[in-house]
Amino acid sequence: MVTPLDVIKKKRAEAVSRIISKNFLATKRVYVGMATCEIAAGSDEVMQVFRDALEKGKFTDVYLSQKGCAGRCNLEPTVEVIEVGKNPVRYGKINKERAQQIVERHLKNGEVINEWTID
């Protein structure tokens, strides 16, 4: 008999494959905070910078996602760049201009911009 646990495991497998099909395994995963507090701090514009960069087709190795608030109120908007095999990079106080820099320097050239990272 198929139990609810079996059903949920199947659903999870499907969900995982759907996420993977959206390029989740790309080398760089970018998360932009999009809770009320982050949006109030200007994360909408930051998100748009990353969306534009991806849409223009410059990147095939980047996965972009929004996320809720992780809790760094005084450093919002926050952006994370996660790469397998490397320490996660967390940026704080990101605005349009800084986002553009992250696209150019970090996503394109792999340079971690230390002055904006938070620990």
Binding site: P4, K11, R12, T36, I39, A70, G71, C73
Partner: protein, 596 residues
């Protein structure tokens, strides 16, 4: 962040007792020996919840967890893992709790490392508008597990065993509440999520829902299964449009996936969830007022008993829990009540979310194991007080709570310890107050809020808070009279005793606790007409000092032309004309204006 490796050492009590500190020293020595000190950062974390396998160290990148580490193992770990890039297989442990997903991304930082994310485990790491993201992190598995393997009674037993207590503030044992509702016989029962977050400055529930709405839905469905209800309602304030939108999306996604609605996951269990929007009245966070509001009536509390577990929404047995409480449920089911029970203090289990605000460097939303001290929260996580100022007090519990002076800084946060110290846990507001804040003014701020929000049903609360507010206003304006403090105490104690609901019973707390701990400040205001923090405008005067360069900026901005003086000469303030608006003080670029 130029380092190649981040090594997190568990700094929880159990790990320290098992030699955590010696391991830290050994590690530092080994790193030095191998010239790795510059490439490696050591990060101390709070309890990692793997106490039976301590001491624990975690190495990033890769998030390798080593357990039962002894000092003798350190050279091997450094050589093999850091130099050769190979894990020391015999020490690797595979313990993977739900909170670890968050820790993987954020755990190597000072701010997050000290925390433990149970209810906020997915906030900030998944896309809250994608059901797939939640499913991928074992979402709805807890619900599937209870439907498949557990009877409703077993679910309740598990929740009881976990020791979880209501996170809305009162701390009533959640499992007992479930049991009381489950044992009632009725054709219809309801499950309610109280998301009517009203404390000024609090945003725990909003962030939880905006970051991970599915968790709440899953928790509620499990509650429905346990008590035999097929209908759930989230009561959320209309001021949270984004949270509402994400909840709506989540409900729709869950229904489409067969995770809510009829015959959930092809079983016999059915459960629906709908939203009810509150208009933003603080009193509607009180459960009986909330229920009245859902029924369409005016949000006013009624006497209990009967408790909602017996007669709640539409007079049916109703299970009502806070957002954070619901978010803990899936973890208890999947990670187990025994594990949950191992975190926290003797009487308070698990973690608590706080909205850390006020005069602290890192303001933010934090979740820490019960028993973490205020000191750890303020200095380790919060980073201390800005500008080298001195800590004066910590306010917890919002308008229902109290102010603890700095001597209570070693108080562990749990329900009993905070109550004993003279405050309350509350729903999670935590405001740090430094020496620049006036305690009378802070008490006045909270009272202004509660007297506004009093529903008016009980005269002591309606009239009493108003009178208290008037007295406080008088004191801060420099018109305080001898006997005012006693009057405040008498009124406050009476309001506490004679009010029906939690709002009135707790409204005087900010005043009473500041009188108790900072009585001298009240006395100074009344007798010496002095505000030591120089906040109360009625008690200060502005004066221009010799630093004045005669730039005329203050003269130009003064709205009542109280400042006189010719350019490049020292100016003066006419105290009779001055309305103490403070504009000159803010405008002066030379710090030449003083508050006296």
């Amino acid at each position: 962040m130029t380092e190649e490796f981040v090594i997190t050492i568990c700094d929880g009590t159990t790990c320290i007792n098992h030699g955590g500190k010696q391991i830290q020293t050994a590690l530092q020595e080994q790193l030095k020996l191998n010239s790795l000190s510059d490439k490696t950062r050591i990060n101390l974390s709070g309890c990692l919840g793997m106490c039976t396998k301590g001491p624990i160290i975690v190495i990033n990148p890769g998030y390798t967890i080593y357990g039962n580490v002894r000092v003798e193992d350190i050279p091997e770990i450094v050589e093999k893992h850091l130099l050769e890039g190979k894990e020391v297989a015999r020490l690797v442990i595979q313990e993977d709790h739900l909170y670890n997903r968050f820790f993987r991304i954020f755990g190597d930082s000072r701010f997050f490392g000290r925390q433990m994310r149970i209810s906020l485990r997915n906030c900030g790491i998944i896309d809250p508008e994608k059901c797939d993201d939640y499913l991928a992190l074992r979402g709805y598995e807890a619900l599937a597990k209870v439907i498949t393997n557990m009877s409703p009674a077993e679910v309740i037993e598990e929740v009881k065993k976990s020791g979880l207590r209501g996170r809305g503030g009162a701390g009533f044992p959640t499992g007992l509440k479930w049991e009381f509702t489950a044992r009632e016989k009725s054709d219809r029962k309801y499950v309610i999520c109280n998301a009517d977050e009203g404390d000024p400055g609090a945003f725990m529930d909003r962030s939880a829902i905006e970051g991970d709405p599915h968790t709440i839905l899953e928790g509620m469905a499990i509650g429905g299964y346990a008590i035999g209800a097929d209908k759930g309602i989230v009561y959320i304030r209309a001021e949270y449009p984004l949270a509402i939108r994400r909840l709506k999306i989540a409900i729709q996604q869950a229904t489409e996936q067969g995770l809510l609605g009829r015959n959930i996951l092809d079983s016999d269990f059915s459960f629906d969830i709908e939203l009810r929007l509150g208009a933003g009245a603080f009193v509607c966070g009180e459960e009986t007022a909330l229920i009245k509001s859902i029924e369409g009536g005016r949000g006013m509390p009624r006497p209990r008993p009967p408790y909602p577990s017996v007669s709640g929404l539409f007079d049916k047995p109703t299970l009502i829990n806070n957002v954070e409480t619901w978010a803990n449920i899936p973890v208890i089911i999947l990670d187990g009540a025994d594990w949950f029970n191992s975190i926290g203090t003797k009487t308070s289990k698990g973690t608590k979310v706080f909205a850390l605000a006020g005069k602290v460097i890192n303001t933010g939303l934090i979740e820490v194991p019960m028993g973490t001290t205020l000191k750890e929260i303020i200095y380790d996580i919060g980073g201390g007080i800005p500008d080298g100022k001195k800590l004066k007090a910590v306010q917890t519990g919002g308008p229902s709570g109290g102010c603890l002076p700095d001597k209570f800084i070693d108080t562990p946060v749990d329900y009993e310890s905070l109550t004993e110290a003279g405050s309350i846990m509350g729903s999670g507001g935590m405001i740090i107050i430094d020496e620049d804040s006036c305690m009378v003014d802070i008490a006045k701020f909270f009272l202004e809020f509660t007297q506004n929000e009093s529903c008016g049903k009980c005269t002591p609360c309606r009239e009493g808070t108003k009178r208290m507010f008037e007295i406080l206003t008088r004191i801060t304006e420099g018109k305080g009279e001898p006997g005012d403090i006693e009057k405040l105490e008498r009124l406050g104690n009476m309001i506490k005793k004679a009010s029906l609901c939690g709002l009135g019973q707790s409204a005087p707390n900010p005043v009473l606790s500041t009188i108790k701990n900072f009585r001298q400040e009240y006395e100074e205001h009344i007798h010496q007409k002095k505000c030591r923090a120089r906040v109360c405008s009625g008690l200060i005067t502005y004066q221009i000092t010799e630093k004045c360069t005669g730039c005329t900026a203050c003269k130009r901005i003064c709205p009542v032309a109280a400042i006189s003086g010719s350019p490049k000469k020292m100016h003066t303030i006419n105290q009779e004309k001055c309305i103490k608006c403070g504009l000159c003080f803010e405008t002066c670029k030379f710090d030449a204006i003083e508050k006296v």
